[in-house]
Symmetry: C2
Subunit: 647 residues, 2 copies
């Protein structure tokens, strides 16, 4: 399979160009691209300590433009900025930029065998059958990342299985060095996920107890050797004590004990230890209505606030559960003031349509980033916290779990590339609007023809809301099939061990997570707790996440819960059909290959959306016995079972 | 892995005995076993045309016993009868026997790769990695079969995939000949499942159209060659036009066209063509409440009654759907008076606990066999029909889908062997009671110690009723997990394409299959249709199979539907616990290995039974809003959702 340059298609590298062996070479190479895009300017660049390390300025004068960077990486980012300006506006203006988020990271869930956990875009382009490769595609990947400011990449699955456990050994280090050099030429640091039990599986020890000196010694030696081979290695990402993965709990140690032990091995080399907060009981009994998975991360990590070393970063999923539509922001962002934090979002659309559904996630991520944590008097947004407003050591940032695979277009769905592009842009500059980002991406990918661009921007901006409408209005998630997480299945997880329930009865729906329920709402600061405790002040998008409400409860929008469920599910499908029709109007203006692929995905999305609409509406119509006030088609078995609200 | 002689453990072959090369040798060998069991008699045998071919007489005189058979097979059956008598009663009395059912057949769903579809007892002992073997175990299998009168075996899956398509070719015929010789020594005919599209896949033709002369020619040549190699080959079993399998429909031909074409190839050699009636639409839309899978087999085959050749036998599953608990008897047994029929039951416990649950199926099969079809004035039971009362050509019988695998004890669960044993006995003599059969099996397998035998008989006899109570009282089946068909999942198939729905709402449950519903009940003769159309005369076990009833409907037993659901689910678990406790009382009297295995299965069964009880009760409590009159533990989310019936 080949690969497409997607949003860089209008900025091709010179034919026959060699891969840059250093970032200085990459700058020269990219400058040649810039020159080919515009002869109206004489282009030059300068690395200067006057600017922050990754910052840049584009200084445009009469017939000339200088790109200043705090480092070669800064210069590179400046060149890409100028390329973007030229492609979108045909000219360049002066700008001064520095990245908001110190770490702008991708997390790949690639397995060494070549499969990708929650990947919907083909197989891994890093791994195949246990072998790691560095090739043309790897360089193309690095260039795409750099063009949107991504500066860190974790190439293997957080669930470290089999061969991947050996990445930290000489079996893989020589080729990892080549990969790190490729990444380094584009300002990207290589990170690896490690198996917490590697001291046993690789080291031959009997233990992985973080307080056992020989375990610490194993990691010290292992890390020292990694840095010997890869001097600019970034560090580790660890999923421990979660979903069957090993961790410090096995030895009666805390999460901090585990993280700090690894961090101490990395510290001498400037390495970072990123530790996921995705720790919960995945063997819950569905009969137990008191245990609430949403509480788990905060309950686990809040007591450890301040106990982590400076080079430890806790990576927190945007919501308290797992990338569901309609989750509130994780309360860990409010409660860990003495700990370095990083936000984890998911560009891989595990629960948002698996790249069969268009689902532009920037609006959702922006909602997370601008959420007021109420934890500080000023600068209390999630974006402030993960960009280091209160902890300026640079050990913070944003990570996206991404599923780029070996499909020609990298992301399976052409439109899904907007999430990759947008993630980078948003990390750099959170104040960019979702529309600005969509417009940039559409213009770069499909040209600045205003009809196409306008429609694609419309499609992207509408997509999340539409997906939410036909899948999870009011914040009830997880109504999907077990394991593959696709498609509607109202009770898919209802009687299972994963702690994710809607608990619908014939009278009511939702989980009471207020102070008088599971108590989850009280993990937030008082102002937020009060807001979430009251259904009248709870945002509609999270309503049934926080409250168990009768179907007849009247929501702030004046509709009953059941009518809102019906309406949103019907509207979602109707709005989707409108979107699809609008794309049909620009057939011929989009290249045929891309148009065909987009339409194929739309066909799958529409079929799936109808299935969501009909199953959810039918389930709740049968369950509640309340008919649709508008008498649309719902598959109740018999009309006699139903009562209808007054019109 | 080894294998155990299970119910033949007290009748071992002489040490070092060679495998019999013919049925005459098998008779001599088995006679030596008989002699070793009792020196009180001088044993001799005689083959005589005075008896029906498979019939026998044991004639006991003073110090001598003669075994007469209508053939060597008859003698063999007589010897096994005498062995059974000796082992169970320490003596022998004269008997005269002939089999009720002409064909007494096992259907194995073994794939050529060694896997077994719906197998719960290890891998295939016929196939492994595409290779078919004949070895000690094959002979042991044949002897076990012969000891209970089984005279036909289909060794490969009805879904004929991959290598199995080539069984009818020289790739496999030499070893199949060895297998047929092994079987033949024990009076068993070898049958094969064939792929209806073999003319394409193996024959290299472009078509499998049964009316295409070159297709018929392919089969004629293929069959002639099979009989050249295996002169006593039995014939074919075919699953066509079902669940994605190829068939005559592809070419616009009828099921009769397909079957007769194959039958004509087999006829010159006395071969039989067994054609499954399991044809239905497996891509149904759950929204469509008018299409009823239960109607499919009758709708398909009834119009073809009389159109099949004499050596075609239609193989009909016991119920209209698929081996569910609580299904009524298939109306095809009532409506195909001019066609040879064979009953198909399932010893492999696909839907009856997968050998983790004790589920003695003889009572269920007996219910089927003694069902009055109302199709004839006399001899109108299913047993009459499949034993040839109205079609004496010998082309009829009973088949059991079985899952014997390479587990030491053949059937995974020790107690599941009672279904294999019992199937053979029941085919031979349908009037044997379930208790007699259980008692024979328990005595042969675990000795005649009265305490053990009494308890095992009690366990077996109670098991089906208990399983029905906690899984599918009132005849609602299919509340299991998709694909693997294990464990409770109320909505597992409710919104799927398989045509198997319960259609529960907050008011009612069940599918209306009466004359005013899907019309299924009118596939039966008038007397039965009238009975099934009226819930007051419908047997409780089929109540919700035929009727959609409000939860508050009062059943013939005086309970409401919802209360009956609660009561049966609680009772099922309680009765199971009692059974388990009763087996504990005979610990030490059962060999430790078997006892441990039985208890391990009981532990799995009990955990699963509790899950069934709690999920089903919870689902219907939440759904109906009606509490348990006895206030037992059900996991409704909140008491406020419930109303309770008057005490």
């Amino acid at each position: 399979m080949g690969y497409e340059p997607i949003w860089l298609k209008q900025a091709p590298l010179p034919a026959g160009a060699e891969h840059p062996a250093s970032i200085a070479e990459a700058v020269e190479l990219e400058l040649s691209v810039l020159r080919s895009l515009s002869e109206a300017f004489v282009w030059s660049y300068l690395v200067t300590e006057a600017l922050p390390e990754e910052g840049y300025e584009v200084l445009v004068g009469e017939g000339k433009a200088d790109i200043l960077g705090g480092s070669y990486a800064g210069v590179l980012y400046g060149i890409f900025d100028a390329e973007r300006q030229l492609l979108l506006t045909d000219t360049v203006v002066s700008v001064s930029e520095r990245p908001a988020s110190p770490l702008r990271m991708l997390n790949h869930w690639d397995n060494a065998d070549g499969s990708i956990e929650r990947g919907y875009s083909g197989l891994s382009f890093f791994f195949r059958d246990g072998v790691l490769s560095v090739n043309d595609r790897t360089f193309a990947y690095a260039r795409l990342c750099a063009s949107v400011g991504i500066n860190a990449s974790v190439i293997n699955n957080v669930n470290v299985f089999k061969d991947a456990t050996w990445l930290i050994t000489d079996r893989y280090l020589p080729v990892l060095r080549k990969l790190a050099e490729c990444f380094g030429a584009y300002g990207i640091k290589l990170y690896l996920c490690v198996n917490f039990a590697a001291s046993i599986e690789v080291g031959g020890l009997a233990s992985a107890d973080p307080l056992e000196p020989e375990v610490a010694e194993f990691w010290k030696k292992t890390v020292a050797h990694i840095y010997e081979v890869i001097p600019d290695f970034g560090g580790f990402l660890v999923k421990a004590d979660s979903e069957g993965r090993p961790g410090p709990y096995t030895y009666g140690r805390t999460q901090a004990d585990g993280a700090n032990m690894l961090a101490k091995a990395l510290a001498p080399f400037g390495g970072k230890l990123i530790w996921r907060c995705f720790v919960y009981n995945c063997s819950q009994d569905w009969r137990d209505v008191t245990t609430d998975r949403a509480c788990a991360a905060y309950d686990t990590f809040r007591p450890l606030d301040g106990a982590f070393d400076e080079n430890v970063i806790l990576q927190v999923k945007n919501g308290p559960v797992d990338f569901q539509v309609g989750e509130p922001v994780s309360p860990l962002f409010c409660g860990m003031k003495n700990t370095n934090l990083m936000l984890e979002v998911q560009a891989a659309q595990e629960y948002t349509g698996q790249q069969k559904h268009v689902c532009y996630l920037i609006p959702m991520w922006k909602d997370v980033l601008r959420f007021h944590t109420c934890a500080y008097e000023k600068a209390d947004r999630v974006s402030d916290i993960v960009c280091g407003a209160h902890r300026p050591g640079g050990n913070c940032g944003i990570a996206a779990v991404i599923n780029t695979g070996d499909d020609d277009n990298w992301t399976g769905a052409d439109l899904a590339a907007a999430n990759w592009y947008g993630f980078g842009r948003l990390c750099w500059k959170p104040q960019l609007s979702a529309e600005e980002i969509a417009s940039e991406w559409a213009g770069l990918t499909f040209g600045t023809d205003s009809a196409v661009r306008k429609i694609l921007v419309k499609v992207l901006l509408a997509s999340y809301g539409i997906y939410e409408k036909y899948t999870a209005p009011l914040g009830i998630g997880w109504m999907c099939n077990p394991n593959n997480h696709y498609g509607p299945n109202v009770d898919g997880y209802e009687y299972d061990r994963w702690g994710t329930y809607h608990r619908s009865s014939c009278k009511a729906i939702g989980v009471d997570r207020t102070g008088t329920g599971t108590g989850y709402s009280h993990q937030y600061p008082e102002a937020l707790a009060a807001k979430f405790d009251n259904p009248e002040t709870t945002p509609m998008a999270h309503m049934l996440f926080f409250h168990r409400l009768p179907y007849t409860y009247v929501l702030p929008n004046g509709k009953t819960v059941i009518q809102h469920i019906y309406d949103t599910h019907f509207e979602g499908v109707e709005e989707l059909m409108d979107l699809i029709e609008s794309v049909v109007t620009v057939q011929g203006l989009i290249p045929e290959k891309e148009y065909t692929r987009i339409m194929e995905r739309f066909a799958m999305q529409l079929a799936s959306a109808k299935e969501w609409r009909d199953r959810i509406n039918t389930y709740y119509c049968r369950m509640s016995g309340i008919g649709d006030a508008k008498h649309r088609k719902i598959y109740a078995v018999s009309e006699e079972d139903l009562t209808y609200p007054e019109a």
